[in-house]
Amino acid sequence: MIRMTRVAKRYGAEEALADLDWEVGEGEFCVLHAPSGAGKTTMLRLLTMEELPTEGQVQVGSFVSGRAGKGQRTQLRRTLGVVFEDFKLLEDRDLFENVALVLRTQGVWDRPTLERRVEEALARVGLPGRGRSFPRELSGGQKQRAAIARAIVHKPLILLADEPTGSLDPKSAAEVLELLFEIHTAGAAVVLATNDEPLAKRLAARGVRVMDLVGGRLVPASAPPAAFAPPASNPPASNPPASNPPETFTPPPPPAANPGALL
C-alpha cells in the first residue's frame, strides 16, 4: 500500500530524511513518532506527493513518485484522507460545504447524493445534523471530527493523520483516536504522526506498530514499558487488539475480514 525505498529528502544542505525504507500494508495502523521538526510532516507530504524525494522512491498504491505527473498526483490525493493538527477546515463555509468539497473534486455534483453522503460522514464522526454549522461554532474536538468526516467521506484506502490530537483536550483526543480506530477497523490503512511520546507508547501497547524517526531515519520504537504492555492474549500484529483498552480510549473491534475494503 505504502512503500518508501531508500528515500532521502534534503532542503538545500539540510537533510530532513535519509536512506529511509518503510512499508505500510493494506489496512495497517502505523504510528510515526518523533519530536517536532524531526521530519514527520515531511514524510506525510511525501506520501501526498506535495513534495517529492530528493533520492529514492515513494510508492502509494499504484502511484510512484518520479513517474506520477501533476494529474496523477491529484488522482493520488483523491484516494487519501488527510487530517491535520489544526483541522484546516475552510472557515468561510459550513461543514456541509467543507465535507462536500472532497466529493465535488471527484465529480459528484448531484445534490441529493452529496447531502446523503455528507450526512453519513458527519453522523459517523458524531456530528449528525451539523452540516449547516460553521467551523467557528464548533469546539476543537468537534472541528477535528468534522475534519475526519471530510477525510473519510470519499471512503479512502489510506488515512494520513498529522498530529490529529495535538491541539485537543484529553477527552476530545481520546474520542478522535477512537474514531481513527473505527476507521481502521473498517479497512483503511492509517498512518498517524505524533510527537506525543505517552500516546505513542499507549498505541504501541495496543499492538500498533510504532516507528521512531530519529535523525531522519526510521527505527522501530523501543518496547513499551510494563505499564503499557499489551495483554498477553493480544496478538503481536500491527492491528489494534480486541480488548482491555489502556488509558482513555475504547478498543475497536478486530479489523474487517477484508482490510482493503472501502469504508
Binding site: T74, D92, L101, V102, R104, T105
Partner: protein, 285 residues
C-alpha cells in the same frame, strides 16, 4: 447545484469575502473604463454627425454642351454599375435648383440665358466615400469625351477622412492604454487573491482538487469584477449623455451594439488579466 453554478458561487464568495480588495480593483478599472467610455461617446456622436455629411458626398461631372444623349446614357449606365447611383441633371433642372437656393429668379433672368451646364451626379456606394476612391473616380470621369469638368469637393473630403482617421487612432490608442491598465490591475488583483487564499487553495489541492477546480473561480472573479466595473462605467457614460443632452448640443447615448461590445470587451480583458496572473501559478501547483 451543478458545476457551473458552484464555480460562479465560489467566485462570488471570493469577491465578497475579499471585498476591500475587490472594490479597490473595481474602482481602478472603473476609472479606466470611464475615460474610454466618455471618449467612445464623443466618437460615436462625431461619427453620427459625420454620417450626415458623408451622405452628402457626391461626385458631379459637368457635361459639354454638345454631349449627345446616347453617350450620356451609356456613361450613366456604366457609372450606375460601377460606383453607385448616377443621375442626369439637365440644364433646366440645374437652373430651377439654383433659383430655389437663391430664393428668386430675378438675378438669373437678368443674366438673359441659362449659363448652367447639364451634369451627372453620382451618389457613391459607402466603400467609395473616401478621398482616394473619389479622386480615382473623378480622374476616370474626366477622361470621358463628353465630360467638361469633374468636382467632388476634394479638400473637405480629405479633411473629413483625416479627421475620422485621427479620431479612430485616438480611440485605438486610448483603448490600448485602457486594455493594458485593466489587464495589469486585474492580474495583480487576482495574484493578491491567490496569495490571500493560498492556504484554502492548498487544502483544496490536498483533498484532490485539480487546477481547473482551483483556478476556475479565480478566473471568474476577474471576469465578473471587470464586467461589473465596465457596466458601472457604461451606466455613468449613458447617464452623462442623458444629462447633457441638449445642453447645448444634442448628445446621443452609446448605441446598443457599442454598449454590448464595451462590456463584453471588458470581460474579455478580465479573462486575459486573470489568465496572465494564474497561468504561471498553475505550473507551480
Amino acid at each position: 447545484m451543478n458545476r457551473i453554478g458552484w464555480f460562479l458561487r465560489e467566485a462570488w464568495r471570493g469577491l465578497w469575502f475579499h471585498r476591500s480588495t475587490t472594490w479597490t480593483a473595481m474602482l481602478s478599472v472603473f476609472g479606466s473604463f470611464l475615460v474610454l467610455g466618455m471618449f467612445l461617446l464623443f466618437t460615436s456622436n462625431v461619427q453620427h454627425a459625420l454620417t450626415g455629411l458623408g451622405d452628402r458626398r457626391e461626385v458631379v461631372a459637368y457635361l459639354r454642351d454638345n454631349a449627345d444623349m446616347e453617350s450620356r446614357e451609356a456613361l450613366i449606365a456604366r457609372l450606375d454599375s460601377l460606383y453607385g447611383v448616377a443621375e442626369y441633371v439637365s440644364k433646366e433642372r440645374a437652373w430651377e435648383e439654383f433659383a430655389a437656393e437663391l430664393g428668386g429668379t430675378e438675378l438669373l433672368e437678368a443674366a438673359g440665358q441659362n449659363p448652367l451646364p447639364a451634369s451627372i451626379r453620382i451618389k457613391l456606394r459607402p466603400e467609395f466615400l473616401n478621398f482616394a476612391s473619389m479622386e480615382r473616380i473623378s480622374d476616370a470621369l474626366a477622361a470621358a469625351p463628353i465630360v467638361e469638368e469633374v468636382k467632388f469637393g476634394g479638400e473637405w473630403v480629405q479633411r473629413l477622412d483625416h479627421f475620422i482617421a485621427t479620431l479612430r487612432f485616438v480611440d485605438l490608442a486610448i483603448g490600448l492604454v485602457v486594455a493594458l491598465s485593466v489587464v495589469f490591475v486585474v492580474a495583480n488583483t487576482i495574484r493578491l487573491a491567490f496569495i490571500a487564499r493560498r492556504e484554502t487553495l492548498r487544502i483544496m489541492a490536498l483533498v484532490g482538487a485539480g487546477n481547473g477546480f482551483i483556478f476556475t473561480p479565480l478566473v471568474l472573479e476577474g471576469v465578473i469584477a471587470t464586467g461589473l466595473a465596465a457596466a458601472l462605467a457604461l451606466g455613468a457614460v449613458q447617464g452623462a449623455a442623458a444629462f447633457f443632452d441638449g445642453r447645448p448640443v444634442d448628445i446621443l447615448p452609446l448605441p446598443l451594439a457599442w454598449s454590448g461590445a464595451f462590456v463584453g470587451g471588458a470581460m474579455l480583458l478580465g479573462l486575459v488579466g486573470a489568465l496572465v496572473a494564474l497561468v504561471p501559478l498553475t505550473r507551480k501547483h
